[in-house]
Amino acid sequence: MKTQGMKSFSARRLGAVATIAFALVATSITTGFAADPSFGKACTTEGVSTGTSSSSLVCTMGDNGKLTWTNVRLGQSTGAPVAALKASPGTIEFHHFRPEDKAVFASIIAKFEAANPGTHVNQVIMSSNDYTNLAYAKISVNPKAAVFVTVRGGQFDQFYKGGLLRDISSDRFVRQNVIQSALTPGIVGGKVYGVPYQSLFNDPLYNTEMFAAHKWSVPTNWTQLLSFCKTVKAAGIIPFAWPAATRGNAGQIMNSFLMNSAPDLATLTSRIQAIDTGKADLTSDWFVAIANKYKQMADSGCFPANVTGYNDTVAPADFANGKAAIYPTGTFGMSTVTNLNPAMKGKMKLMSMITVDEKPLYQGITNNTFILSVNAKATSRDQNIARAFISFLATAPIAQEYAVGTSQHVSIINVNYSANIDLLNTSDIMGKKLLLAPRFLFNNVGTVRNPLEDALIAIGGGADVTKTLADTSKTIKQSFGA
């Protein structure tokens, strides 16, 4: 099949009228409007939005530090959304790593199968850890795995290098149903090899009810954050329920430390890549400064007692049950919290974790992941079923069902989150200046990222910064030689 790159279809659309679609995401907060909201006018409460239509406004802070009403423009694509492709009869497997999404996907698959008689999609689900490690080995020898997901970074690269990703650049649903800015992690050399389905926000969740009851303000700089920890701890509450014993989620907080650690994105990227390729080690001033901030947080009582034994079963439970003020993972943790305590519904918001005192470069983290791809080694019939299935997932009503059912924001345009209060309440982060999660710029997961994160966890648990970083640097260096 003939394929086209992003550049070529960008050129093709020259002269055509580009249609802008908006996925409108906003809070339903009814209070906080300073006056009659109108574009460009001052507002008082950051994040407050006027509704869920394309003409909605959101109160955002500009570079000058002033709050003004601005348009919510989240869902730009290159044309009006298209309907899902038709699939021919046949059976394929859909491999992913979210057991918690099984029921929602089952419902969506039933609809897909009803719309395409004779077509069957079977879910094959692994835990995320197993999926990270084993998915390539399994899928590379299984052509029936016609549609699968990868995570941004190392895993996506691995599948790409293995020739398992089919170029889907020319599919109209890719251009017209997906927020184009969210496509970046699925693009290599200008061609689209996957649709990142989820728009995650890897920022700490905080308990709004608890904050209001104690009259706490969300800290907006590093000094305030450390002081906040002391205040919260003095009230007998865990400030940050940081699940340090579970590396996967413990590492999310690193995004916030990284995002404002360099003067610009290019510098940050080059510093990360230098460590990731062994050209620099963890004893560089830049990384030592980051590690020292973990230590400062530990010294300020930000983390629970025995934090290195505090895992991701206990942390969300403490947050859900009001024992912790902040659960520093991201929007993907909301469903776990509300499953543990349904009363937490509507009581969570995302905070910008600012680790500097000067004006921050970024105010939050986003990540476009759960990248849906078509197996290039599947038969052409199965590939077509896979394309049809992805296109089905990329229609707004289905994406909305997925989003609302799983409490995940999605990268599909025209999705309305008003049916899920937590998605709605956390959507205002989209009005802030966000950075694509830098943690996943460490592609060398086993050799670099895991030991690096282990070192930061140990430091957060009280280990000596200098010794821990020196020891870990040595381990990483030796590992590069293997």
Binding site: N133, A245, Y310, T447, N450, D454, A458, Q478, A482
Partner: protein
Amino acid sequence: MALPAVAVYSFLYLYPAVQNLLYATERWDGVTKPQQVGLHNFVHLATSDDLFRRIVGNNIRFTLIVVIFQTAFSLLFATFLLKNTKTTIFLRVIYFFPTILSSVSVGLIWTFLYNPNFGFINATLKAMGLNSLALNWLGDTKYSLYAIAVTQIWFHTGQMVIIYVAGLQQIPADLYEAAEVDGATRWQQFKNITWPMALPTTAVVVAYTTIQSFRAFDLVYSMTQGGPQNSSDLIVTSIYNTAFASFKYGYASAQSVVLILVVLLVTWLQRRTLRIDYGVKK
């Protein structure tokens, strides 16, 4: 007649083993073309991989603890559960029960028991006034390996009790009767009859426990994933991480060759120590 057995063995066991040896001489990320590196992987393991040497040390300590305590406990319990009464049969079932649980479930249960802030173990210690003994069992590099070893012993002792009971029941009763007539104490009976006669069973238990200890992947993975800072990493978890997190399949194959050599060496040393050869006392 032996040809089919040889063929099946060669295909299922010999071929993968030889294949693994070949992989061990390659640098391969599982995606791109493998690159022949000769003995580089082994040389690097021996000379430049401090972490792997530490992990081998972890595994040997883990194995020693588990083999000694699991064997001792299972022999002790078996001596009390020898007679086939309703009570002893019930107790054997109780002791055997953990063995039928999945290792991941066992890992999760013990992770909760070990929780430093609300786990049963620390809560009990604190209730007894032993606050200084209420430790961060799985989160501290000093204790994590031992904490998992305790779980491993709890998990598999019941299985070994059953093997010991079967072995001890084969000892002729008239030996004990004759010893009693001669006025031997319980300890003398154990020392001069039970222990020597149980040596073949002990050899089986020790060998099996050793191999189990080197294969304790699931428990480690579900409880600590080898952490904190590799303090509870065993050779098998290291192999897994090297292959599937670092994508160094050749290097992981070299590590698995080392694993085989270490298991062979430890098993041989045990046989020498117990002076056992195929279950027959020399």
